[in-house]
């Protein structure tokens, strides 16, 4: 139902998103993390625009624009600002070494294809790639959170998850009802700000935002 050019564009953008996922996992510097995230958001926004163009649903344009503005510009800026402000060491300090992480992410991607395969028979989604990649994004985002130490990287991981979810929304249902979509954006923004605030407070209290020191509460 889509013309092949758009289909190619969508597939390319999806591939970029997957690529950025892997880059996020592979990068070892904080600054590059935010950059890559910005690129991913940009690609996502573009993808949304293509879909909007294809389906003619105007509200997806709004979503695309919002996505680009919010996730490709404002949030990366904010995180960069926070990073400099609290003088985080540049290194990412992964708990799992980068080559291992990449292997795991490859496995995750396979899993995502495996899991979404039955869904594809319905043919509601745009392409099988999109759904699988969105799912992979979600899982890779989670993996980032599990395997990285710093509070800021956790926020980025969470944002990657959000991007994945957003991607899934676009690829399966051409995004959700407008009000819901707006609400979700609002929540993401507020969430990031609140997390940033807490990161500040944690830094002030503990002189570090390495979450591995946040282990005072356990049984």
């Amino acid at each position: 139902m889509l013309n092949s050019l758009s289909l190619d564009a969508i597939n390319t953008l999806a591939a970029i998103i997957l690529l950025t996922d892997f880059m996020l996992v592979a990068s070892s510097r904080m600054r590059s993390l935010t950059r890559i995230f910005a690129i991913q958001s940009l690609a996502l926004g573009a993808l949304a625009a293509v879909v909007a163009f294809e389906t003619g649903a105007e509200h997806i344009y709004i979503v695309a624009v919002l996505s680009i503005v919010l996730k490709a510009v404002i949030i990366p800026r904010f995180i960069d600002y926070a990073t400099t402000k609290i003088q985080v060491k540049r290194e990412v300090e992964p708990l799992v070494k980068i080559p291992g992480s990449l292997l795991i992410c490859a496995a995750i991607t396979l899993l995502a294809y495996f899991v979404t395969e039955p869904l594809m028979q319905q043919g509601t989604a745009i392409t099988s790639n999109c759904l699988a990649i969105s799912f992979a994004s979600v899982l890779i985002g989670m993996f980032l959170m599990v395997s990285r130490r710093k509070a800021i990287t956790e926020i980025i991981g969470l944002l990657v998850v959000e991007n994945g979810v957003f991607f899934a929304a676009i690829s399966t249902t051409y995004s959700m009802p407008m009000i819901v979509e707006l609400g979700v954006f609002f929540d993401v923004l507020v969430g990031v700000i609140i997390m940033g605030l807490f990161a500040f407070r944690i830094n002030r209290t503990f002189d570090s935002i390495d979450t591995s020191i946040l282990r005072g509460l356990k049984d």
């Binding site: 649903a57 899991v115 039955p118 869904l119 028979q121 319905q122 509601t124 989604a125 979600v138 989670m142 959170m145 509070a151 956790e154 969470l158 998850v161 959000e162 994945g164 979810v165 899934a168 929304a169 399966t172 249902t173 051409y174 959700m176 009802p177 009000i179 819901v180 609400g183 979700v184 609002f186 929540d187 507020v190 969430g191 609140i194 997390m195 807490f198 990161a199 407070r201 944690i202 209290t205 503990f206 979450t211 946040l214 282990r215 005072g216 509460l217 049984d219």
Partner: protein, 487 residues
């Protein structure tokens, strides 16, 4: 009508924010606001119970929602009533500045607002937004004391619940996707519209959607093994907030799961799939909670784990299904809220007196704080399922549900766990209540006014233990019918 209910807490929050400086006024506004909320909420609840569902398109209040609303406004009111003397005491001891006090009430009302929003929204997307909202707002309340542990708890709460809730969003999207074929692209994600076509929803999407929703909201519910944030957050928050978190928030998240569960039972997949998952997570929660209750050294964490236990019981009840399972689980939501609030209030009194959360640090309550200790002991007996308190009734119903539905082994596990938890829990509480108080500990209650909401709660759980008002009972039957269980 519903919109007034939604806006009222926002308005009170604003008032509290504006009157920030004037502690007395803030307190008065809070109590009056909470009272109004209780009044308004009760009217709505009664209306729904008597007249039936209120459907305003965007806002939708059926018996299930109303039942949740009842819990929210009741515990909300009592928590605020308890907050006033409790926070004043904190203020006097220099733990909290008066500025923060204003913020406290502001956030408390915002918190209540988000929870009300959860139960009155028809749109599952809005439900999601509201649940996420509860996390964001209550994170402030959890991290209210600007201490290391509070921040840590708040951070964990924020991150873990956010990730969970993201999964729930993905699940919501998949459920939405499952409806696209039937409803076309104008599907509005309203629960009522989904229910109308439940049988035709795409099973593949629905299935994976439910798994994601269950894990996602399950994180918020505190189902093991996604429960990890819960003991930290509950133990670090101010006691009235713990009561709200444990008594209301968890239920709200459970409510969200239930909406999907109901959808599942009416879909082509059938209820067995979602029931099985609920049962699995419920049993896991019960088991893990039991382990932590046994080894616990901190009484607020003890209560937190007990909440995990009870959420497990509720999940088990819905998992068992059948009339008794569902009826019992619903009733258990109410009973657990009331009893847990009572216990957190009691724990608050103890904390203010002994200034420690360690179980070993608290001895001889019966001599230092006779009233609190009696209420606490009653609460402890109640929460562990002793008659004549109400938790017993609902736990028995759940057990009946299990056995009646032929789930013999899970039922036995359930009963066994409850007994073990009883033993461990009472062991801790009894040690706190009796024995010799630490040296220099004077006799006397610190928070006399705080006893009033506690007594109210004891009365509620006692009365509910012996009989359930017909109105409520009928409403619960209607809800059971919603699940497709035979009445």
């Amino acid at each position: 009508m519903i919109i007034t209910l939604i806006l009222l807490p926002v308005a009170v929050a604003l008032v509290c924010l504006l009157l920030n400086r004037y502690t007395k006024l803030v307190e008065t506004a809070s109590v009056v606001g909470a009272g109004l909320l209780l009044l308004l909420g009760s009217i709505l609840v009664l209306h729904v119970f008597e007249e039936g569902i209120i459907d305003e398109g965007m806002w939708y209040l059926d018996q299930l929602g109303a039942f949740m609303l009842l819990i929210i406004v009741l515990i909300g009111f009592l928590a605020i009533l308890y907050s006033v003397p409790y926070m004043r005491h904190e203020h006097e001891n220099g733990e909290v500045s008066s500025n923060m006090l204003g913020l406290y009430y502001t956030f408390l009302f915002l918190f209540i607002f988000t929870m009300v929003l959860v139960v009155v929204s028809n749109n599952l997307g809005i439900v999601w937004i509201a649940v996420e909202g509860t996390t964001l707002v209550s994170a402030f309340l959890v991290g209210f004391y600007n201490k290391g542990t509070s921040l840590e708890a708040a951070w964990k709460y924020l991150i873990i619940c956010s990730i969970g809730i993201s999964l729930a969003l993905l699940g919501t999207i998949f459920v939405y996707a499952s409806s696209i074929d039937v409803l076309g692209e104008n599907s509005d994600l309203h629960w009522t519209s989904l229910m109308a076509v439940a049988g035709q929803l795409d099973p593949a999407f629905l299935k994976i959607g439910f798994v994601l929703v269950l894990i996602g909201y399950g994180t918020k519910v505190g189902l093991a093994p996604m429960h990890t944030w819960l003991p930290d957050a509950h133990s670090q928050a101010p006691s009235p907030v713990s009561a709200l978190l444990s008594g209301v928030l968890l239920n709200c998240a459970m409510y969200a799961v239930l909406r999907y569960h109901i959808l599942m039972t009416h879909s082509s997949i059938g209820g067995a799939f979602s029931s099985g998952l609920l049962l699995l997570f419920g049993l896991l929660s019960l088991g893990i909670a039991a382990a932590f209750i046994i080894t616990q050294k901190d009484y607020k964490r003890l209560l937190a784990y007990s909440s995990i236990e009870h959420m497990g019981i509720i999940a088990i009840g819905f998992g068992f299904g059948g009339f008794w399972g569902i009826f019992g689980a619903l009733l258990h939501m109410f009973n657990h809220s009331m009893t847990k609030a009572l216990l957190f209030f009691g724990a608050g009194n103890v904390l203010q007196k002994y200034k420690t959360k360690s179980i070993d640090g608290v001895r001889g309550l019966s001599r230092t704080m006779p009233y609190t200790s009696v209420l606490l002991l009653m609460g402890a007996l109640a929460i562990t399922g002793s008659p004549p308190f109400s938790v017993f009734t609902s736990e028995i119903m759940v057990l009946t549900g299990g056995i009646d539905q032929g789930n013999i082994l899970p039922s036995l596990l359930y009963a066994g766990m409850i007994v073990i938890i009883f033993a461990a829990f009472m062991g801790h509480v009894v040690r706190m209540i009796f024995g010799d108080p630490p040296e220099g500990m004077e006799k006397g209650e610190v928070n006399k006014a705080g006893l009033i909401p506690m007594v109210a709660l004891v009365v509620i759980i006692l009365v509910m233990g012996i009989f359930i008002p017909d109105g409520l009972s009928d409403a619960l039957r209607d809800i059971v019918a919603l699940f497709g269980g035979q009445v």
